[in-house]
């Protein structure tokens, strides 16, 4: 017999389930989605996943090291966060995007709040929203095969038909982990392996479907509802994000309410807001209520009543939070209502000024119908014909948006005479780096486009203007290129549709 026996309190047996196996099950469940993501978006998508996972794990390791805590990367929760984050990114993001997102998710959202089990928001989604705010253009520049295109959800919202098979396989414009089939398979695996329970996914999908059917404006039309339910990260949220135990409630009734809250918020944001990121913010908002909801549903054993003093105490934090939310919401919407008209008027006035400056002498403008095709990162937004007093076309004003600028995209209006001569350009949206990209808006640069008749402009160095060669703004090649590409897109559109 050994000299010393182990002494401990009962029970002396432990179930086979451990934090590690729970996390391993989540990773297994994400496998089909990850594989289909690589299949649809190429090896670069796989590279993004690896980078994101590595950044998450290294961040947690270094944080533990710096704060002299025990090492916790063994529980694999950082791997899960890294993979979840990567699966919610567009396939073409630059490599620093997942790195920064993973660092933010692990360091700020998870570690600084006390590590696994203490974060109040889902780290992966909080990391994603951080990236959405910081790198708006690359985070919403959804592409497929390198070509930017509207996501299936945006297509469906616009009333166009959607290829459901492509959505199931994830072979659509969108984030890496958008395969409905993969997500469903993973979700069912988690349900069967008891990694998650049915309450949250069912309530989330059910309430989102109900909300969209009631308020989506398309009723029960499957052409609208099916893509809404398969796309836009709803399945990802229902099976993998809202079910994150740390940020959600642990009671059965609480989970039902929490799932319903998430689903309604998703529906609300989709119907009334920007469809692309409704899910992210819906889950993050619901996260904030996760622990409070449990307070409402603490089970009461048979034969017991909650004492009075506690009955009163329960809804207090909830009601305070609710009041604050309502006041903030009212103030925000008040500001929006009172200013939206003026903002619209101002922007219309600015646009009119822009049209006039590029088609001199025009007395009125007539909107022309847009030809359908738009390819690449540039997008023709508006085409107008400038008319003189007798109704004769003096020239065209073409508004072009290019998302591939240095920061957030730029929009400019190009004036083109009927013979193809570019009269000049005028920016309506430009927020590049001050002193560098912003100098694209200065006359010194824009003057180079005035009164030139060439099939296309090119970016050059040290040549005088007039031959269609544009001097780049020093130190702002990306911005300059974006401008030239935008103008060329307008010229190409003119040549194809108006000449």
């Amino acid at each position: 017999m050994r000299e010393l026996l182990h002494l401990s309190s009962a029970p002396h047996d432990r179930g086979s389930l451990s934090t590690k196996t729970v996390m391993r099950d989540v990773l297994l469940a994400l496998l089909p989605t990850a594989v289909l993501g690589i299949w649809a978006h190429g090896w670069y998508a796989g590279f993004i996943m690896l980078v994101s996972i590595a950044a998450a794990v290294v961040t947690e390791y270094l944080f533990n090291l710096a704060t002299k805590r025990g090492n916790t990367i063994g529980d694999a929760s950082a791997v899960v966060t890294g993979l979840l984050l990567a699966l919610t990114l567009p396939a073409q993001v630059p490599v620093y995007v997942p790195v920064l997102g993973a660092v933010f998710a692990i360091l700020v959202v998870k570690c600084l709040f006390g590590g696994l089990g203490h974060n109040i928001m889902n780290p992966a989604l909080a990391g994603r929203s951080f990236l959405l705010i910081s790198f708006g253009a690359s985070m919403t520049g959804y592409t497929l095969d390198g070509v930017s295109a509207a996501t299936p959800l945006a297509e469906a919202a616009a009333g166009r038909s959607v290829d459901v098979v492509a959505m199931a396989l994830g072979n659509t414009s969108g984030v890496i982990g958008s395969s409905a089939l993969g997500l469903l398979a993973g979700g069912i695996y988690l349900l069967l392996s008891r990694g998650i329970t049915w309450e949250i996914p069912t309530a989330t999908i059910g309430s989102a479907a109900a909300f969209l059917a009631l308020f989506g404006g398309h009723g029960l039309d499957p052409a609208y509802l099916v893509p809404q339910l398969l796309g836009g990260g709803l399945l990802m949220a229902a099976f993998f994000m809202a079910t994150d135990p740390v940020t959600g409630p642990s009671t059965t009734k609480g989970q039902l309410l929490y799932g319903a809250l998430t689903g309604v918020l998703i529906g609300l944001f989709r119907v009334k807001g920007n469809a692309a990121d409704s899910t992210t913010y819906a889950v993050l908002l619901a996260n904030l209520f996760g622990n409070l909801i449990d307070e409402l549903f603490i089970p009461v054993p048979y034969g017991f009543r909650i004492p009075k003093e506690f009955k009163k105490a329960i809804p207090k934090p909830v009601s305070i939070l609710l009041v604050i939310t309502l006041i903030a919401g009212a103030v925000l919407s008040g500001v929006y209502v009172t200013t939206s008209d003026r903002i619209a008027r101002n922007s219309e006035r600015a646009n009119q000024a822009a049209y006039r400056s590029v088609v001199p002498g025009a007395e009125s403008f007539r909107s022309l119908e847009l030809a359908q095709e738009t390819a690449g990162t540039t997008q023709i937004q508006k085409v107008l014909a400038g008319l003189d007093g007798s109704g004769q076309t003096l020239g065209y004003a073409i508004a072009v948006h290019n998302s591939q600028s240095y920061d957030g995209g730029l929009t400019l209006v190009v004036g083109i005479l009927p013979d193809g001569t570019v009269t000049g350009i005028h920016f309506t949206e430009l927020h590049e780096t001050a002193g560098m990209g912003m100098r694209c808006g200065e006359p010194e640069f824009t003057r180079q486009f005035e009164n030139v008749n060439v099939p296309a402009f090119a970016l050059g160095k040290g040549t005088a203007g007039g031959h269609g060669t544009i001097d780049s703004v020093a130190g702002a090649t990306v911005s300059s290129t974006a401008v030239v590409d935008a103008v060329n897109a307008a010229l190409a559109y003119f040549a194809a549709n108006l000449k």
């Binding site: 017999m1 050994r2 026996l5 182990h6 002494l7 401990s8 309190s9 009962a10 029970p11 002396h12 047996d13 432990r14 179930g15 389930l17 451990s18 934090t19 196996t21 729970v22 916790t72 529980d75 590590g115 696994l116 089990g117 203490h118 135990p245 740390v246 959600g248 409630p249 642990s250 009671t251 059965t252 622990n291 449990d294 603490i298 089970p299 009461v300 054993p301 048979y302 034969g303 017991f304 909650i306 004492p307 003093e309 506690f310």
Partner: protein, 442 residues
Amino acid sequence: MGDLTFRGGVHPEQRKELTAGKPFFPLRPEGELVFLTNQHIGKPAEPVVAKGDYVLAGQRIAQASGFVSANIVSSVSGTVKAVEPRPTAAGGMAQAIVIVPDGKDTLAQGIGQPTDYKRLSNQEILDRVKNAGIVGMGGAGFPTHVKLTVKEPEKIRYVIANGAECEPYITCDDQLMRSHPAEIAEGLEILLRLFPQARGVVCIENNKPQAIAAMENACRGHEKISVLPLKTKYPQGGERALISVVAGRHLRLGMLPADAGCVVDNVATVRAVYRAVCFNEPLMERGVTVSGDSVENPGNFWVKIGTGSQELVDACGGWKEGLEPEKILSGGPMMGIALSGLDVPVCKNNNAITALPVDPVAEEPVTACLRCGRCNRVCPLGLSPQLMQVAAQRRDYERYEKRLFGLECIACGCCSYICPAKRPLMQLFKVTKAEIMAAKKK
């Protein structure tokens, strides 16, 4: 219809195959026997013998010292070596009577005389149970005569013979039901005499088909007794789980089974009642399972109370080469007590010794709570161990007691068992309960 069960619970690995079906091997003690005076719930018994006295088997050596207390008899004939403190399973020391057997097992007078219980009055039955020093043999050790002394006996609707044996590894109740089913049925019939309105129910988990068959066979002809197979799930053998299944009622803290119209006794206790009432035989022997992967030849033993644990292990052939125990338990892995050594004797409520070569508790590190809520789902009382844990750690005892009903915890350990983060929840709850109760007494 599936077999009956309760809400929550867990499914630990059974490991009953190590000893299931192995008949009781009668163990003759070689060395000294130790009779702890606190081997029951309540006040320790008062020794009535002194060093040097010669005692017979069945002779009373300690006297119940209050209402909730029990007599203790010697299980052998021999000489009192000492009356002194000896180690207990729980880790402390307690007054004990040490007897060196003479190997003759001479019985005290009057023991073994057959009596027809139908001629005895209820009080005479209770007296015999009390004199025999019978206590709950399933583990609790609550004096049986106290349990049977109910204010309004006619309000009892069910007398439950607990043969669930939901604890892993242990098979001594299973074996007793296989080998002595008629005595258990007769014992139950005696108890039903005390409670005229009651029906007898033998509850057995459905992983013991032979025991169920044997009991069903033995209960044929006993009109008021039936056998109720239950789903195999821990803690199915808990008093509350049984009452919720049989009577459909839930107990709350401070309530006794009698308040729900039930009396619950382990099958071994029921048999001991039969022996005491019909043969005037005090509680001297019991079945003990010695099992676990460390044990060379696991088995069931018919053991004289007071026998040293070391003798039991020796009777099994000692430890397996290379698999020496890291942990030895008095009882099974779910509710047993970890022993610091084999210097403790077999008590009336000892049903097993389990020796594990690997301690599952030490195997995996404790990590942070994920708030996954699995503990909430397995709690047979419907409590919220996850929230109780937070309140206990913050020492928010008011919330713990009044909002989370933490004092209701029966310490079954399902929460600790299921927790993926391996948090010792039950241990925390035991400590918290003790602290709250101590503060209340002040």
